[in-house]
Structures are given as structure tokens and as C-alpha cells.
């Protein structure tokens, strides 16, 4: 129980905890979600009942969850980490087998009318698990091979399970989250250098042998990689989404076409306009100014997470907050790169904006953990 190593001068109890919440974070998260409601209302052609209303309900539910998680002491959550991790892995296995038979789609589990994506939950429990591991581990052993292998395996197992769904986007995020937490825990740079060398070597050998008799992949696999990397080569097929998304963003100009005036979204040129591609509607209707404001809100959320993590003397807490921040950042960075045509299309929602319950609930749960760590930090 490493927490007891610190002298807990003062930990708020009861309703006093409300005063010690990280209020700026609460406000920022609500503000970003509000932008989401506005955009969903616009995309639905000025109707609450299509998406915006339900999104608000999910947010309300998530907010309750967030406050609940926040008010429970962080050491309780740390002690739950291993259990949460195991449960998540079991849920992943469950969708792998039951999901395919029971519901046709593998990614969801239907629980009481609520769709739960175990892979979303996994992102948070992986962060918790790794943070708890490094909290437990003697820092001197951090870089020893055997003690590096454990967190690597803890990351690889869920990654492989998610990849089998198949959900490439989430698998990559899991890998990167794990890597980020391992990195922050202080594992020697040499390991990362080694992994980077292996990846670069593999990629170059795959591509440099292309066209030669000893090429490593089949031709059709190369072609698939080509369209994945450059969808604009196929403007009516794979590239359609990305081209239309860029048209929407670009045509918004400096200040946008105005609320509810986006032609690309209103006339259905934008695919997935209320989920993964919601940012394009925002860009079309509010232009560069609107998009820039949203980026600032996102940036502020990350800044407040960083400040909270750096202030926290508890190793579990700071690693966990950083993990959640990295998770949050990866969501928006991958989504925005995809929408702006900087990265291939992978199914990653935009945090707090994209329509969908699972991602929203898990994110609020994660921010609940951040709040709990903030309230119960050692002083």
C-alpha cells in the first residue's frame, strides 16, 4: 500500500469533496459536449429528437457516473485495477464468442438497452492496470527485462483481442496507450529504440521487397495497403468519404457557412456525419474560427490533466491521469488527422462530440478517475 507511504495531511470527506473537484475540467468537458449537442442538432436539420436529445441523456448518465467515481477514494480504484482489467479481458473474450453469435456484430454487448463496447472500457482499465503495476513495482526494477515483459504482455493481450474483432483503430490506440504509460514509468529508452528499429526494419523490408520475387506480401495485400494509405486514389469508393470531408472542412472557410447552413452535411454528401465525421460539419458551419476554438478547448482539457498529474505525488494517480490524457489525445488526434486527410480512415470517434453512448460513458468514467485522483491526492 504505497499510498500510506505519504503522510496524508488532509483528505476531504463527505460533501466537502465537491469543493475539491477539478472544476475547470468539469466545465471544459461539459463545454465540449455542448458543442457536440449543437452540432448534432444542426446535422439532424434542427431536430432534438434524432441525436442531440439522446446524446444529452447519455451525457447526464455519464456525469452521474463521473461524480460517483470521483467521490470514491482513489486507493479503492487502484485496488480494483487488477480486477477491472481481468473483467475487461473477459468481456472482450465474451464479445469475441457471444457477440458474434448473439448479435451479429462483434463489437457490442447489449446490457439493459445500453450498448457497451468492451474495447472502449479496455482503454481505461489498461491504463489503471499499468499504473497500478508500476505503483507496485520497485522503481529500481523498472527497466529489468522480466519486469518490462509483464506490462508489455498486459498491453499485447487486449490489443490482440481487439485486433481480432477486427478493430484496427482501437487496437493501435491500446498499443500506444500501453507504450505511453510504460514510457512514463521510466523504462529505459533502449527498449523503445529497439522496438522502433524493429518496426522501421519490418516496414522497410516489406516495402523495399515489393515487386521483387522475394516480396513478403501478396500483390493484393500491397494494393490494399495502398488504398488504405491513399484513399483519394479511389474517389468514388474508399476515397469518397475523405474527399467529401475535406470539401466540407475547406468550404467552411474562415468563419463557416453558419449554423444549420452546411450544404455538405444537410445534403448527405458527408458520410458518418453524426459519428466519426462530426468534425466536418462543425468545420463547414463554423469555419476555421469554430474549429480552432474547439482545438483550444481540447488543448485546455489536456493542460488541466497534465497539471493535475504533475501536482500529484502519488505514482498511481499521476501515471493514471497521464494515461487517460494520452487516451483522450489519441482519440482526437487520430480522428482529426483522418478527417483532415492526414491519416488513413480508421473508425475512431471524436471525444465528447461523436454520437454514441459507449465512448462517451467510458470517457466520463475515465475523467471520474482523474477527478478522484485530484480530490484524494496526498497533500
Amino acid at each position: 500500500m504505497s499510498f500510506l507511504e505519504y503522510r496524508v495531511k488532509f483528505v476531504p470527506t463527505g460533501l466537502r469533496k465537491v469543493l475539491y473537484l477539478n472544476w475547470p475540467l468539469v466545465v471544459l468537458v461539459t463545454a465540449v459536449s455542448a458543442v457536440g449537442w449543437l452540432t448534432l442538432y444542426s446535422i439532424a436539420g434542427g431536430r432534438m429528437d434524432v441525436w442531440a436529445g439522446r446524446q444529452m441523456q447519455v451525457f447526464a448518465l455519464g456525469a452521474v457516473l463521473m461524480f460517483f467515481v470521483a467521490f470514491v477514494p482513489i486507493w479503492f480504484w487502484r485496488n480494483m485495477s487488477a480486477l477491472a482489467y481481468v473483467v475487461s479481458i473477459l468481456l472482450l473474450l465474451l464479445v469475441e464468442f457471444v457477440g458474434s453469435v448473439g448479435m451479429g456484430a462483434q463489437r457490442w454487448l447489449e446490457i439493459g438497452g445500453l450498448r457497451l463496447q468492451p474495447s472502449e472500457l479496455m482503454k481505461v482499465t489498461l491504463v489503471m492496470m499499468l499504473a497500478a503495476y508500476y505503483d507496485w513495482l520497485d522503481p529500481k526494477r523498472t527497466s529489468r527485462p522480466l519486469w518490462v515483459l509483464v506490462p508489455v504482455l498486459l498491453t499485447i493481450i487486449p490489443t490482440v483481442l481487439v485486433l481480432m474483432q477486427p478493430n484496427l483503430g482501437t487496437a493501435l490506440i491500446l498499443l500506444m496507450i500501453g507504450g505511453a504509460v510504460i514510457l512514463m514509468a521510466g523504462v529505459s529508452w533502449w527498449y523503445f529504440a529497439g522496438v522502433a528499429t524493429v518496426i522501421v526494419g519490418a516496414v522497410t523490408s516489406v516495402f523495399s521487397t515489393r515487386g521483387t520475387p522475394w516480396q513478403l506480401l501478396h500483390d493484393y495485400q500491397y494494393r490494399r495497403i495502398d488504398t488504405f494509405l491513399d484513399p483519394t486514389a479511389d474517389p468514388l469508393g474508399a476515397g469518397y468519404n475523405i474527399i467529401q470531408a475535406q470539401i466540407a472542412l475547406g468550404s467552411g472557410g474562415w468563419s463557416g457557412k453558419g449554423f444549420m447552413q452546411g450544404t455538405q452535411s444537410r445534403l448527405n454528401f458527408l458520410p458518418e456525419k453524426h459519428t466519426d465525421f462530426i468534425f466536418t460539419t462543425l468545420g463547414e458551419e463554423f469555419g476555421f474560427v469554430g474549429v480552432f476554438s474547439l482545438l483550444i478547448l481540447y488543448g485546455l482539457i489536456l493542460v488541466f490533466c497534465f497539471v493535475s498529474a504533475l501536482q500529484n505525488k502519488d505514482r498511481f494517480s499521476s501515471l493514471m491521469i497521464m494515461g487517460v490524457a494520452v487516451n483522450f489525445f489519441l482519440y482526437l488526434a487520430i480522428n482529426l488527422s483522418m478527417v483532415m486527410g492526414l491519416a488513413p480512415v480508421v473508425g475512431v470517434p471524436l471525444p465528447f462530440l461523436s454520437y454514441g453512448g459507449s465512448a462517451m460513458l467510458v470517457l466520463l468514467l475515465a475523467f471520474g478517475l482523474v477527478q478522484s485522483a485530484h480530490i484524494h491526492r496526498p497533500r
Partner: protein
């Protein structure tokens, strides 16, 4: 296990350092995203704005309403009717076969429709709408509109379609419209964008084709907003086109109807012309066909019926058909001789029934001969030897010159299809065309409108009008364009001596009214309408010496296609000419029996407001005429065909 504070602090420092490093990486990523966004929505904004507009706005042409074609009194000959149709666009339909299969459950579609649609869809660009079914009922159209959500790319449309209410009456004059074909586009340098509209209908033959520029009008445009699947969301801007000009022809629909009905099932043609201004009052050609069949897309069976018919319903015999004019040409031969001063009215030629020329014997139709005949008798009784004799003296070149002056062998400029020039031969013509010397026998044949001479009924009508007036009357078909009268020119005198013209006219008067005139039975009894004319019977076969010795086989004994053509030209009233008429009945037998009665009925119909008055006929014929007129299948005032119960 307790850790030293030093250790803890050291590990916390590592976390801080690495966290700041990650923070730096994230900031860099934010900078990249911001820069990309700036590139898209600030630097490239104009281009993307254009692309977004191109996405949503599409410009469509609005076809203008085609001008109406009316008769001289404003009765509709070619009009436009609302046409409900269903079109499909490949781009929006996705799986065309599936959508068509679904559509076939909603409205009745034949296998033919489907085949044709799929063929056309594969041929044209993916965004071009293809008509699947035409002329649907309002009910079917509503069904398609109701099922629109499950029929992507399919849309119901209302358009105008050409309709010919007086179907068979004007098939040859007005022709018909049809969809633009590749062939139509070939000859055009910068085609009107309208022509690129699929299924856009343009005039194919007849006045529809030759007056196309007036009738078509100018396309309008509309800018419309479409959504991603091409559905029209709203109209942003509309610029109306200019509808085509309405055109009034010189034809009188009622006279035309009467002429067409009177020709009946004969293979025949009749042209009525106003001698004062050249207005064509009727241009009938029988049998006819229904042009509406062609507009709707004629079936193979119907088309074969038309092409296999030996009476050639598709041919416009009035302007396109050429026939040896036979004895109707004799006025020209006589005028040539009169003009050259080789004969006078009183010159008498003895007709023994034949004439020996260059070792060949040319027969008169009357074997016994006419005895001594002057010009008037020669015309009235149609003595061939008289014209053989004078033609020998005047020569073919003078005759041909006279023929051309009276509009024979000349292409008259009327907006109709396949207008024949006919043949008015002379020595040079034979040299060039046949590579042979002109023989005297050719002149003999030509003198009575046989041999190389070929004329169309229209030319014969023009000739008759010029004889009646002594002026160079030219035919015209268009009376008004877009409400403005087309000027009718003052016709120049032909420059033929008045006495010569009068003697020809009195010869034609005698044809109808002299006791031995060939067309006495087709005279008009009404003093005010008394008329003049000339019969003609032209051979389509050679009569051999052997046959002549045995006795010429009469027309009744011959198969139809070897019988003589019956011709008649005439004008009325004699004193104050108003109309000229020319009638040709293919293989009809004698001109006096087969053509003259038709010509009389038709010209009387033109001269009166309703049916020909019985008082105009000789008393003995009235009963027969009355019952004949009663049985004619005429249209009512609105142009509706007679009820079939009459037959």
C-alpha cells in the same frame, strides 16, 4: 515494503520529465492539426467552396414547348400533350437490375421496355436519365412517386409529347418528330444543347423537319440543388426558355380531310392550290399512315405492314412521286408551238389514227383517227397525232423550255421532304444522262407527256395555276409564323401572248364542256363554278406491235401494277380562276374515268364552305354523288375520325 523518499522523488522526476516530453509531442501534433485546418479552410477555401457548390448544384435544361402547327384557319394539326413518364438514372440507382425489377412490380413493364432501358443505360453516361416507360396513366405515375424511397434513381416526370390529332390526314405534309439520333447530330457543327437531352424530339420528316428551326424554340435552364444521391432538393433559379413559334400552314384541314377521304384506298395523290397567291390548300397522298405511331416508337409489325404494302403508304406521292404526265402535258406542247408562231388557233392537222415518223408508226389513242382537228378539238378530244405533228416542227428544246417556264422539271421550294424535281428532258439532258443522241421519236413521245417526261402532282398543279393566270405562280405552304403573315409575292407574268393563253384555256374548257370533250362527265353544272381541265392517261408499259394487232388489252384485264396511271389537271371557276387541282391515280386506268371525278369533288369542296353542293353536278349524277358523299369517312369539326359504326 517501504521506499526511501529519495527513491520516490527520483521516480517522480522521471515521470515528470517524460510526461513533459509527451506533452511536447502532443503540442506538436496540435500545431500540425491547426496548420492543416488553416490550409484547408483558409488557403484552399475558395477551391473547396467551389467543389461544394459543384456537389450541390446541378444545371438542367428545360425543353421548350414545341410550336404548334395549325391549318390556315388555326385548327391544330400538330400539338403537344402532357406525357407522364418514368426515368431512371444509373448513377443514382446503383443496382439498376434490382431497381428495375422492383419498378416492374409497381407499374406494368414489358420485357421489351426493360431490355431497351438496360441497353440504353449501358450506352449513355451514368448521370443521364433514361426513359423507362412512356405515356403512363396518372395512377401509375402516382404509384411510382409513392414508392420513390425504395426506387433510388427512379423519378416520375411530366413532359410534353407531340401529338397529331388529325393523324393520317397530314402524315405526308407535316411528317413527324422523333428522338434525336446520332445521324441527326452528325451534320451539325455546334449542336443546340437541347439536342443532347436524351429523347429530345425533333422533326424527322415533312414540315416538322423543314420548319424545325422555327418550331423548336430556345431551351430554358434551371439551377437545382441536389443531395448526395442526386435527388432534387429545391430549385434555386429558373430561366424560362422561349417556346417554339406556332406555324399556320396554307392547308385547309377540312379540304385536306375531304381530299384524303375521297382518294380513299386508291394509290393516289391530289394537290389543290390557290392560283392567286400560290397557297397550297390540300396536299393529299393516299394511302396514308398514322404519324403518332412513329412518335411513340412504331412496332416492327406496324412498320412492316407499311413497307410491304404495294400502295406505298409511306411515300408522299403528291410531291415525291413522279409520273409521266400523259395528255396533261399537251398544253405545254401547244404553247411552245404557239409561241414560236408555228401554229395558230385555226391550224388544222389531219389525224388518220397514226403518224409515221422516221420509219416508226406512232398511234393516236383513237385508232380510227379524229380527221381534221384544230387546237381546241385536239385538246378537247385529246388527239395525239395533232401534237405529234406540231412537236416535230417546234422541237424538244422549245417544248422543254416551255415546260420549265410552267414549273415542270423544276424543284419547288416547299418545306416538305423529298420534293421531286421530275424530268423535263431536252437534247442536252439525254446526251448527259443517257449518253445518247436525242431522236425524233423521243420528241413524239414527249409531246404527249410520255417517254422521258416525269412530273409530280405538285408540278402539275403549279402548271395548271400558271395556265389559269398567265403568271409565274409559286406554291407556298406556310401562311403565318408566330402570328405574323408570310408575305405572298406578286407573281411576274410569264410573258406569253394573251391570245395563246386564251386558246389553251378555251381548249381546256372544251375538255370539260364540249359535247365530245374527254371529261364531259366530270363537268360542273353550276354556271358560276364552271371549270376547265385536261385528262391524262399515261402508259407504264410498252404496247408492242403484236399486241396492237391483236387489240390492246383493256386496263380491267391487266394486273394492277401494269395498268395506266390516271391523271387530271383543272382549275375553277373558268371565268375567274380561284383554285387549280392536279390528281394522279396510280394504275387507275383512264384519266377521265378515274381522276377527273375525284378532281371535281375536291375542287368543289375547296370552293364551298361544306360538302360540295349537289347543284354543281349534272342532274343525272346527283343521286350517285349524294350517296357517295354520304359514305365518305370525314372527320367532325374537332377533327375526330368518324365512328366506325358507319362502315
Amino acid at each position: 515494503m517501504r521506499r526511501s523518499p529519495k527513491e520516490t522523488e527520483e521516480s517522480a522526476r522521471v515521470v515528470h520529465r517524460r510526461a513533459l516530453l509527451l506533452g511536447g509531442a502532443m503540442t506538436a501534433m496540435f500545431a500540425v492539426l491547426g496548420a492543416r485546418m488553416r490550409y484547408l479552410s483558409v488557403e484552399q477555401a475558395d477551391q473547396f467552396r467551389l467543389l461544394a457548390e459543384e456537389n450541390r448544384i446541378s444545371i438542367r435544361l428545360i425543353p421548350p414547348a414545341r410550336g404548334l402547327i395549325q391549318d390556315r384557319n388555326g385548327k391544330t394539326i400538330a400539338g403537344n400533350e402532357q406525357n407522364y413518364r418514368v426515368v431512371i438514372t444509373r448513377e443514382d440507382a446503383g443496382d439498376v437490375d434490382m431497381v428495375l425489377a422492383k419498378l416492374a412490380h409497381v407499374i406494368p413493364l414489358t420485357a421489351d421496355d426493360l431490355d431497351r432501358t438496360i441497353k440504353e443505360i449501358n450506352r449513355t453516361s451514368p448521370f443521364a436519365p433514361i426513359t423507362v416507360a412512356d405515356r403512363l396513366t396518372w395512377e401509375d405515375l402516382s404509384k411510382v412517386a409513392l414508392n420513390a424511397p425504395s426506387l433510388p434513381g427512379v423519378s416520375p416526370e411530366v413532359g410534353l409529347s407531340r401529338v397529331y390529332p388529325r393523324d393520317t390526314d397530314f402524315a405526308h405534309v407535316v411528317g413527324y418528330v422523333g428522338p434525336v439520333s446520332e445521324k441527326d447530330l452528325e451534320g451539325i457543327e455546334n449542336p443546340d444543347p437541347l439536342l443532347t437531352i436524351p429523347k429530345f424530339q425533333i422533326g424527322k420528316i415533312g414540315a416538322e423537319r423543314w420548319l424545325e428551326d422555327h418550331l423548336r424554340g430556345k431551351a430554358g435552364t434551371k439551377r437545382i440543388e441536389v443531395n448526395a444521391v442526386g435527388r432534387v432538393m429545391r430549385e434555386l433559379e429558373r430561366q424560362e426558355g422561349v417556346p417554339g413559334a406556332d406555324i399556320r400552314l396554307t392547308i385547309d384541314a377540312d379540304v385536306q380531310n375531304f381530299a384524303q377521304a375521297r382518294l380513299g384506298e386508291e394509290s393516289a395523290a391530289a394537290v389543290v392550290m390557290d392560283v392567286r397567291n400560290g397557297d397550297l390548300i390540300a396536299i393529299a397522298s393516299a394511302p396514308s399512315f398514322d404519324p403518332n405511331l412513329f412518335v411513340r416508337g412504331i412496332s416492327h409489325t406496324d412498320y412492316n405492314l407499311l413497307t410491304e404494302n404495294d400502295h406505298r403508304p409511306l411515300a408522299n406521292k403528291a410531291v415525291q412521286g413522279v409520273y409521266p404526265p400523259g395528255s396533261t402535258f399537251k398544253m405545254i406542247t401547244a404553247l411552245a408551238a404557239l409561241k414560236e408562231g408555228l401554229i395558230t388557233v385555226d391550224t388544222t392537222v389531219r389525224c388518220p389514227g397514226h403518224l409515221e415518223v422516221g420509219g416508226r408508226r406512232f398511234h393516236c389513242w383513237k385508232r380510227a383517227g379524229h380527221g381534221g382537228v384544230n387546237l381546241e378539238r385536239a385538246l378537247a378530244e385529246s388527239c395525239d397525232v395533232y401534237f405529234y405533228d406540231i412537236a416535230q416542227r417546234v422541237g424538244i428544246d422549245k417544248i422543254a423550255e416551255m415546260g420549265k417556264a410552267f414549273g415542270l422539271g423544276v424543284r419547288h421550294d416547299v418545306p416538305m421532304s423529298a420534293i421531286a424535281e421530275g424530268i423535263m428532258p431536252n437534247k442536252l439532258w439525254k446526251q448527259e444522262r443517257q449518253k445518247q443522241e436525242w431522236r425524233i421519236g423521243d420528241t413524239i413521245n414527249a409531246s404527249i407527256g410520255q417517254g422521258y417526261v416525269l412530273t409530280s402532282p405538285l408540278q402539275l398543279a403549279v402548271m395548271t395555276a400558271r395556265i389559269a393566270t398567265g403568271r409565274a405562280v409559286t406554291p407556298r405552304l406556310v401562311r403565318m409564323i408566330d402570328g405574323k403573315e408570310v408575305d405572298s409575292p406578286e407573281f411576274a407574268p410569264l410573258g406569253i401572248d394573251g391570245d395563246a393563253m386564251r386558246s389553251i384555256r378555251s381548249g381546256m374548257y372544251a375538255v370539260m364542256n364540249a359535247p365530245r370533250g374527254t371529261a364531259l362527265s366530270s363537268r360542273i353544272a353550276d354556271d358560276a363554278l364552271v371549270w376547265a381541265g385536261k385528262t391524262g392517261t399515261s402508259q407504264v408499259r410498252n404496247i408492242t406491235t403484236a399486241e396492237r394487232a391483236r387489240g390492246v388489252i383493256s386496263n380491267d384485264q391487266l394486273p394492277w401494277e401494269r395498268r395506266d396511271h390516271a391523271l387530271f389537271v383543272g382549275y375553277a371557276p373558268y371565268e375567274n380562276p380561284r383554285y387549280a387541282v392536279a390528281v394522279v391515280v396510280e394504275h387507275g386506268g383512264g384519266g377521265s374515268a378515274a381522276a377527273a371525278p375525284l378532281a371535281r369533288d375536291i375542287i368543289l369542296r375547296a370552293l364551298s364552305d361544306g360538302l360540295p353542293p349537289l347543284t354543281a353536278y349534272p342532274a343525272s349524277q346527283r343521286n350517285r354523288i349524294e350517296s357517295m358523299l354520304e359514305k365518305l369517312p370525314l372527320r367532325d369539326a374537332e377533327g375526330r375520325p368518324p365512328a366506325p359504326s358507319r362502315a
